[in-house]
Symmetry: C2
Subunit: 357 residues, 2 copies
Amino acid sequence: MRKKITLKQIARELDVSVSTVSKALSGSKEISEDTTQKIQAFAKLYNYRPNNIALSLKNRKTKTIGILIPEIVHHFFSTVIRGIELIANRRGYNVIVGLSNESFSKEIINMEMLANGSIDGFILSISKETLLKQDYHHFNATINQGIPIVMFDRVVNEVNCDKVIVDDFNGSVKAVKKLIENNCKNIALITTMDYVSVGRLRTQGYIEALEEHKIFADSNLILKIDDSLDVENHLEVLENEIERFFKTNNTIDGVFAVNELYAVTAMKVARKLGLSIPEDIQVIGFTDGVLSKHATPSLTTVSQHGQKMGEQAANLLIDRLEAIDSESDQYIVNDNPKHDFIKIVIETELIERESTK
Amino acid sequence: MRKKITLKQIARELDVSVSTVSKALSGSKEISEDTTQKIQAFAKLYNYRPNNIALSLKNRKTKTIGILIPEIVHHFFSTVIRGIELIANRRGYNVIVGLSNESFSKEIINMEMLANGSIDGFILSISKETLLKQDYHHFNATINQGIPIVMFDRVVNEVNCDKVIVDDFNGSVKAVKKLIENNCKNIALITTMDYVSVGRLRTQGYIEALEEHKIFADSNLILKIDDSLDVENHLEVLENEIERFFKTNNTIDGVFAVNELYAVTAMKVARKLGLSIPEDIQVIGFTDGVLSKHATPSLTTVSQHGQKMGEQAANLLIDRLEAIDSESDQYIVNDNPKHDFIKIVIETELIERESTK
């Protein structure tokens, strides 16, 4: 039997990007006619089999859910997977996990691999690079091929599908209000770059809470960490950045950090600078992971209920899959823009521990 | 097209276990002839396609590695996956992750699903339930079908394949010797039940280190935690057990714990009982995870170099896959018991931090 050629190999042979190949094969108008023809001819020659076999195999249910997450060393994503698994097992489905490693082309490659008959539908969270590029053609192509997607946490409006999100905005309003009520006068924010949607929403929540209390949101008190580069000594860089930030803003008496690593590192730096927590400086994080519970002092944090998110996402996907089963062959989503997609918003909860008064 | 029936469905229909179905289909002598015939007939009737299609599709390389791990919420396994990915990507392979959730039948179901044409070979760590049952037929059946396996961390002698292990025994000797040199007189061990091979080896290392120093290994100083039940309030149960243990053995001045969760929880309980670390009690863990680095005091620990394990495992598997490619069709492992399987032992390293003097 002939070797099966992959998107990646086609891209390498023709010296174009995986994304260009993927778009050309799905007939996207973004790619020039010339390039499209060249890619399609090459794919045909080498017997490339696109995923739309999925449609014709509609009745060949795999009873497997494909999960695609940006990174594996991440407690939040682990708890979401646990939630998905719990429901999947209960409802007779298996799960399989692919990793995008925050990379756009790995996301495409993984989707292509899994969609190729291994899974019935996807539950996924978008990679940082994809969000930065704002290129979502692979999600829409997958949906058009009859494979439903449920997105969680990092979602975008540009894709019509079921979504499960955390109320990032209000979670962060709650956290900052808590610091204000606890008499913090100079509340700093440690956040991500704006292209990460959850970071952006949490930043907006911080500003909203301050404005509601007529406090001026001083941009000097906002530290945006660029962790798009997965550098070897990431932790050290983070620590140095926060230390410099604290030294140039030595009136800070409250910190809201958009994830637990930033929060725990802020506590470490504060201790190093001789500050007591919560006496001199109060700290609140986001995400109730392993670190928050076991830190000393333990960290007050906004819980995202990752497991619950996973459970809801799995129920949405399986409901959708079973609805397709019971319908006839008419499930072509994008032909019907009014298709009732569901967006579930999970309420956050402020878990108070020792890092606040 | 006809629906594809799964092992699980056959098991449910015939009211037998997944393992029985799996064994009957691979012609195992353990299953009665009657049952085997019934299962094989049923499988044939419903068009069940066993994995040995993999053999006939030898040239249809997927360039994908299947990783099968016992649990996802576990920093050590995450770092191994990171190592596997690093090498896999460098050598042109993709990875896909299945989860056994420490369950024997889920391990079988996942292997069957992935082996069904999605992957070229496996890198896996055995589930606790499988170790407890000592039933490894599914690994051998997979290898016999021409799909190579590399096992890491939790491995068994009963399966002939490449393996990557940590030197658990010597890692634990190192840790306990450190406590002895630091003048601990009553060194406790917090470990798992014996059927978990790594826990057993670490326990043996503890005893060895004591005996080398002519110290009597008092069984009262060994606490074995049964975490086979994934109970809701697992952390609380663990904390209570350790507290009871410390109270009935109030001369303990050194603790070696076989994982970082036990170690960090021991530190928490010690603090609660008014003990100072490292002044009154010194603590060493195993696995250099997120908790060890960020705990207060930070935890002295035996690093397993998870990422390095993953890198070695990936290189072993890909070397094996490419050797199969370059050989003819003669790669039937179990016909040749002297086939040169490789066992790589990763040396551990004691990382000294604040929890020891």
